[in-house]
């Protein structure tokens, strides 16, 4: 494996690729490793359902939130998940626009990551409502009280941004799947699968007009999705920046949050494709080139995020406001300092190893760095949410925060649900976008 590998190893061709990739989805017997892999995620998904039901029964008091830290795990996890989700759209839409060939074999898994990441993110704001059954009050609908939502609030912008993002991601993902579903329909070994994939393919047959409209639409939607994902994460940043809270009220937040989304998104994609290429024998289509490119992107976004941390500190001390400096000192040396320094270690220092090509191709080290980044990004959001809120302007309002067992169970539950979803995708739909691979593969066996 070298960084100069082609995007598909020599000898790869369309018929072999189509047979191999569609064979994975159409297998009649599950993979043996699949049964082992699904146990823990399935158990954690049940834990998630259980903790949500208990939350609905008992209320948000079961969590660690209180005054002054009223935004706890729910908001931390929400931002963390939506950042992971955004990474998938960067790969599938942004790098489609740059015509990067390496994207073709990993965009399906990246987009699936977006779907389940956004699903995990989307449930938190609703759980965080004291009365979740009234979440529909966020919709602007005519009602007998003559009330309308306050559209000047970034929190309401966020509701619209997430709603748009989830729906658009599903549509973009499904559109990108249509030709491959048609392939599965035509290769289905049983009547049941033929009907299932046939219905999902909606009758896509690859006629000349279907292809023409398909490519026209896909290109335009990619050009719409790329700014959308930037707007979504900017608005998440504005949720914070719009408040006058210490440490949050900064114009830096929207781009800073986008940098974080790049970082955690690339880390998660790396973490997904490395086991996938081995377990599903896709080494031919996910090569050293892919690992190298993603490693470089991870390094680049780590430098971006590092720049954000430096500017955050600079602005605080240069600005000289007492409450800001008090909070920042607390961040660096106070009760939660360990979490801040873990952020620096995992997000900025460890990824520097990726300067070396040998490290970028060492899958074990890359996996450790990627896991570090994912933990580091969670720590970053913990610092932003908790440290700022626990040192408000009035010393009489100082207070500490800890997550309760239910906070941790819900977090672990969404992690399990995410992995569960990815495993389902791997089992049921082609993990590589076959029709896009045809653009770069030899049409026939050599």
């Amino acid at each position: 494996m070298t960084p100069f590998d082609p995007v598909a190893l020599a000898g790869s061709n369309n018929p072999d690729m189509t047979d191999h990739v569609s064979g994975i989805a159409l297998r009649s017997k599950a993979f043996r490793w699949g049964w082992i892999a699904i146990v823990l995620p399935a158990a954690l998904t049940s834990v998630l359902i259980g903790s949500i039901l208990y939350l609905f029964y008992a209320g948000v008091g079961i969590w660690g939130i209180d005054w002054p830290v009223a935004w706890g795990f729910a908001i931390i996890n929400y931002v963390w998940w939506i950042a992971i989700a955004s990474g998938g759209t960067f790969i599938s839409a942004l790098f489609f626009l740059t015509r990067s060939e390496w994207r073709n074999s990993i965009n399906r898994i990246a987009e699936s990551m977006t779907l389940f990441g956004a699903a995990c993110a989307g449930i938190y704001p609703i759980l965080h409502l004291g009365r979740p059954w009234l979440f529909y009050w966020l919709f602007p609908y005519p009602n007998t009280m003559g009330l309308w939502p306050q559209f000047r609030s970034p929190l309401l912008w966020d509701f619209f941004a997430i709603l748009t993002y989830v729906i658009s991601s599903v549509v973009f993902w499904y559109l990108g799947l249509l030709p491959d579903l048609a392939t599965l329909r035509d290769r289905a070994p049983t009547r049941g699968k033929q009907v299932l994939y046939g219905v999902m393919a909606l009758g896509f047959r690859g006629t000349s007009t279907q292809w023409r409209h398909y490519h026209a639409l896909y290109g335009v939607l990619a050009a719409v999705m790329a700014p959308l994902v930037c707007s979504v994460h900017s608005i998440v940043g504005l949720d914070f920046a719009g408040a006058a809270t210490v440490g949050w009220h900064s114009t830096m937040y929207p781009p800073f949050f986008i940098f974080g989304a790049f970082l955690s998104g690339f880390a998660t994609v790396l973490l997904l494709i490395m086991p996938m290429r081995r377990l599903l024998r896709l080494e031919r289509y996910i090569t050293g080139r892919h690992l190298d490119v993603l490693g470089r992107l991870l390094l680049t976004s780590s430098l971006f995020v590092g720049y954000g941390y430096i500017m955050d500190a600079f602005n605080t001390y240069y600005g000289g406001e007492k409450a800001e400096i008090t909070m920042y000192q607390e961040r660096l040396f106070g009760y939660y300092a360990g979490i801040y320094w873990a952020t620096i270690l995992f997000n900025v220092l460890l990824p520097q190893l990726l300067w070396f090509a040998a490290v970028r191709l060492n899958q074990l080290v890359v996996a450790l760095i990627a896991i570090g980044v994912i933990i580091g990004m969670w720590c970053e959001r913990y610092t932003i949410v908790v440290v700022s809120l626990h040192r408000p302007r009035l010393p009489s309002a100082y207070g500490l925060y800890h997550g309760s067992i239910w906070d941790w169970l819900t977090l672990m539950g969404t992690v399990g649900f995410f992995v569960f979803g990815i495993l389902l995708i791997v089992r049921l739909i082609p993990v590589i976008s076959m029709f896009e691979m045809r653009e770069i593969l030899a049409p026939r066996r050599p």
Partner: protein
């Protein structure tokens, strides 16, 4: 009227054959990836219109709600504080652009169409893998068969109906 389905082993074979096949009657291609095609598509326009209508509608909805329907004085700031309405107008615009594009895609292609008589041809199974297929609806199937033999089609199949 008979339908003759033929498959070619290569894209070049199909593209070369198409002009002659068109003289036989209605021709439709079924291919694993898009053929060269310079005809325009209406879908980018549908996305643009959907986006503009959504943005304008979303903006107007916010202006109505916060200026006319339920004005709230926030620290004496103007009621028509349009910059604060931009993010949601953008998001609603994107949402309607994406949905308009997808729905227009279904409409122009008349989808979903789960069954098409051409599906009866077993050759069609290869059209989504590596075969380049063509279906010809013609009054003279015999001429089609000879012509396809000339053109070195991989396999030919005539539909019963």
């Amino acid at each position: 009227m008979k339908t003759v389905v033929a498959s070619f082993a290569s894209e070049a074979g199909l593209v070369e054959a198409l002009p002659r096949l068109r003289s036989l009657g209605m021709v439709e291609t079924y291919t694993p990836k898009a053929l060269e095609d310079d005809q325009p598509s209406i879908l980018p326009l549908a996305v643009l219109v959907g986006g503009l209508v959504g943005t304008a509608g979303g903006f107007g909805m916010q202006v109505y709600a916060n200026v006319i329907g339920y004005p709230v004085d926030v620290g004496g700031r103007p009621e028509f504080s349009w910059p604060a309405f931009v993010p949601i107008a953008f998001e609603i615009g994107v949402l309607s652009a994406v949905l308009a594009g997808f729905i227009a895609f279904l409409v122009v292609n008349r989808l979903p169409r789960l069954y098409d008589p051409v599906d009866e041809a077993s050759l069609m199974r290869g059209a989504t893998r590596d075969r380049w297929c063509v279906a010809i609806r013609t009054e003279s199937p015999d001429r089609a068969h000879t012509m396809l033999r000339d053109l070195a089609a991989d396999a030919v199949e005539e539909l019963a109906a």
